[in-house]
């Protein structure tokens, strides 16, 4: 573990981009936790008198058509966007890692069924499937989380299955089995912890995709309901003003969204370098 940490420091010092990504991540986390507390305005407070004002000292990101402060809204939205993404990634991880490890470990029918489910999901263009799921389950935030988890599920299954398959006959697994551990214990207590580093990489790599996906769904009007600040919806609202030149309404939430996704993608690449130096390009 300390070797891993040392290696991490080595990678970070040699890779300022990853360090930058960690910094951005900290900033996002800060905004998610303290966003509502430090927001200069009430993100929902409308005031017709100051509608559609471009960025100024009082309103850094300008105001929208209802006179709401965009900076405050972008800040407050961080928590919702990140929560949706985190929740869906955790859900996908739980479902995918468990069933994938079981598939790789037991093989046979387990593997066939899990594989078929994953293949069927992969047979859809993923965003389209997410649309269909949210439409069917009902138009709310929970279902966005579920849909995003489902479309990420096959990625986790694939990684977990392959890793468990490699480790099924490894010495330490054999030893655990011989010392009287049940299959479930071997699986959960020995194989799962071993593939955690790789799963962590997978999680941060899919995190960016999950944010994009959730924002895309709310952009087309699924999930989060309007007055509530959320990056995708805010871009959608701003879209109506692009043709008349009020760029700031869409730009700031869109750019923040982009930055967040960028941060997680960089972070994923960086983590992969730390966990699996062989794959460095």
């Amino acid at each position: 573990m300390s070797a891993l940490l040392r290696h991490a420091r080595y990678v970070l010092s040699g890779n300022p981009v990853t360090a930058l990504a960690f910094g951005l991540f900290g900033l996002l986390l800060f905004a998610a936790i303290f966003g509502s507390a430090i927001a200069p305005y009430d993100p929902l407070a409308t005031e017709a008198a100051r509608a559609l004002k471009p960025p100024s000292a009082a309103h850094w990101f300008g105001t929208d058509q209802l006179g709401r402060d965009i900076f405050s809204r972008v800040l407050v939205a961080t928590r919702l966007d990140l929560t949706i993404a985190f929740a869906s990634v955790i859900l996908a991880f739980l479902l995918g890692a468990l069933s994938g490890v079981a598939a790789g470990y037991f093989g046979g029918w387990t593997e066939r069924i899990v594989g078929r489910i994953a293949d069927t999901i992969m047979a859809f263009p993923l965003f389209v499937l997410a649309m269909g799921i949210v439409a069917a389950l009902g138009n709310n935030v929970t279902n966005i989380v579920i849909a995003t988890a489902i479309i990420n599920y096959p990625l986790y299954v694939r990684v977990a299955r392959a890793e468990a398959n490699i480790r099924r006959d490894a010495g330490f697994v054999e030893a655990a089995r011989l010392s009287g551990n049940g299959e479930a214990r071997v699986l959960l207590g020995h194989i799962l912890p071993n593939i955690m580093p790789i799963m962590m990489v997978q999680m941060s790599l899919t995190m960016g995709y999950a944010i994009l996906n959730a924002a895309g769904l709310s952009f087309i009007g699924l999930g989060v309901k309007p007055p509530h600040p959320e990056w995708g919806i805010m871009v959608a609202e701003g879209a109506n003003f692009i043709q008349s030149g009020e760029w700031w309404i869409a730009l700031f939430p869109g750019a923040t969204l982009m930055l967040a996704v960028f941060c997680f993608n960089l972070l994923g690449d960086g983590l992969r370098d730390i966990v699996d130096p062989r794959q460095r390009t």
């Binding site: 078929r116 293949d119 069927t120 047979a123 859809f124 263009p125 993923l126 965003f127 389209v128 499937l129 649309m131 269909g132 799921i133 439409a135 069917a136 389950l137 009902g138 960016g208 995709y209 994009l212 924002a215 895309g216 952009f219 087309i220 009007g221 699924l222 995708g232 871009v235 959608a236 701003g238 879209a239 692009i242 043709q243 008349s244 030149g245 760029w247 869409a250 730009l251 869109g254 750019a255 969204l257 982009m258 996704v261 960028f262 993608n265 960089l266 690449d269 390009t281």
Partner: protein
């Protein structure tokens, strides 16, 4: 080749079955009464009952599934409440618009990503390699609807060199007579250059936004596989034989490197078909994505279901085409099958 086609078709069948089952289940998962959902918000109780009988919702699940499959086989995807038309007809009329956009975007993405990836690999560590790295990481991070809006703002509002971001053709131009449904091709067929340029101008921004989004996996894969091929033994043989750099890089390295790139096309299509929905929304593009979004917002479920099914079947077909293309390039696969 025929063997390859048949074996690949056989592997596509479970996928198609899976897709049919999932789209069927999605309708049954509808919260509340599916009949009420399908009937729309303003429906009377009789209308709901009628719809329930019509949809066969009073039958058992397996029976319902059979009816669903029969309907599919006869090309019946139900009726749209918003347009009042059969969903199949609606989708068929809108499909060319989406297909033209998606294919152009793919073409653009490949035209940029593949040379970029090749150059990045050949000149490893040069500025073009760094550019490639930036483009691939930034490209996947760009929300496609945001890029689209940004483009519309810059090129339409600020620079005024792009037409208004609404629809396939300027209102003053008449669309070319319907042959393929692709405006670019149809307008050329009747030598209507005005319509051709008009259609191209409308396509440019949405296609570019989609291309930027989907270019990353292509460029990344091209670079990676080019690098690994260039390090290969047979490239050394080619160089030791004094073959011209052009021959070494294109005939020897690239043809081999393109194989993994072809496999990644499947993922690119998944990206593109999803991005399609968002881009059509931004640019009011009259394709099936916009159709589905409008239906979603009015709780008109049949078109959404038809859309998901169509997209999935299209995607499976595209993957099949990709497999065949792979077989065309790689003799090992062709002869194994």
């Amino acid at each position: 080749m025929l063997n390859l086609l048949l074996s690949r078709l056989a592997t596509a069948i479970p996928s198609v079955l899976g897709v049919i089952v999932v789209t069927f289940l999605l309708t049954r998962l509808l919260p509340g009464d599916p009949a009420a959902y399908f009937a729309g918000l303003a429906a009377t109780p009789q209308a709901v009952a009628e719809i329930r009988a019509k949809l066969g919702l009073d039958k058992s699940l397996p029976e319902q599934f059979l009816v669903y499959v029969q309907d599919l086989l006869s090309g019946n995807l139900g009726t749209s409440l918003t347009t009042g038309q059969p969903v199949t007809a609606d989708i068929l009329t809108r499909l060319p618009a989406s297909a033209e956009l998606t294919l152009l975007a793919l073409f653009l993405a490949a035209a940029i990503a593949i040379p970029l990836g090749v150059l990045a690999a050949v000149k490893q560590g040069s500025w073009i390699d760094h550019l490639c790295r930036i483009v691939t990481t930034a490209g996947v991070s760009l929300p496609v609807f945001f890029t689209g809006l940004l483009f519309a703002y810059v090129f339409y509002y600020l620079l005024q060199i792009a037409p208004a971001p609404t629809g396939r053709l300027d209102a003053f131009l008449t669309p070319p007579p319907h042959r393929t449904g692709f405006y670019l091709i149809d307008s050329l067929l009747v030598r209507n250059t005005e319509a051709f340029w008009g259609a191209l101008a409308q396509l440019a921004l949405p296609a570019a936004s989609m291309a930027i989004f989907s270019l990353a996996p292509l460029a990344r894969m091209t670079r990676g596989s080019m690098l690994s091929v260039l390090g290969g033994d047979f490239i050394r043989t080619a160089r030791a034989s004094g073959l011209a750099p052009r021959t070494v890089i294109f005939t020897y390295a690239f043809r081999n490197a393109v194989l993994p790139v072809i496999t990644v096309l499947g993922m690119v299509f998944s990206f593109l078909l999803g991005a399609n929905v968002l881009v059509e929304t931004v640019f009011a593009w009259p394709g099936i994505g916009l159709y589905a979004v409008n239906a979603l917002l009015t709780s008109d479920y049949a078109p959404v279901q038809g859309f998901v099914l169509t997209m999935a079947v299209l995607y499976i077909t595209l993957n099949l085409a990709i497999d065949l293309l792979y077989g065309l390039v790689d003799p090992r696969v062709r002869l194994d099958a």
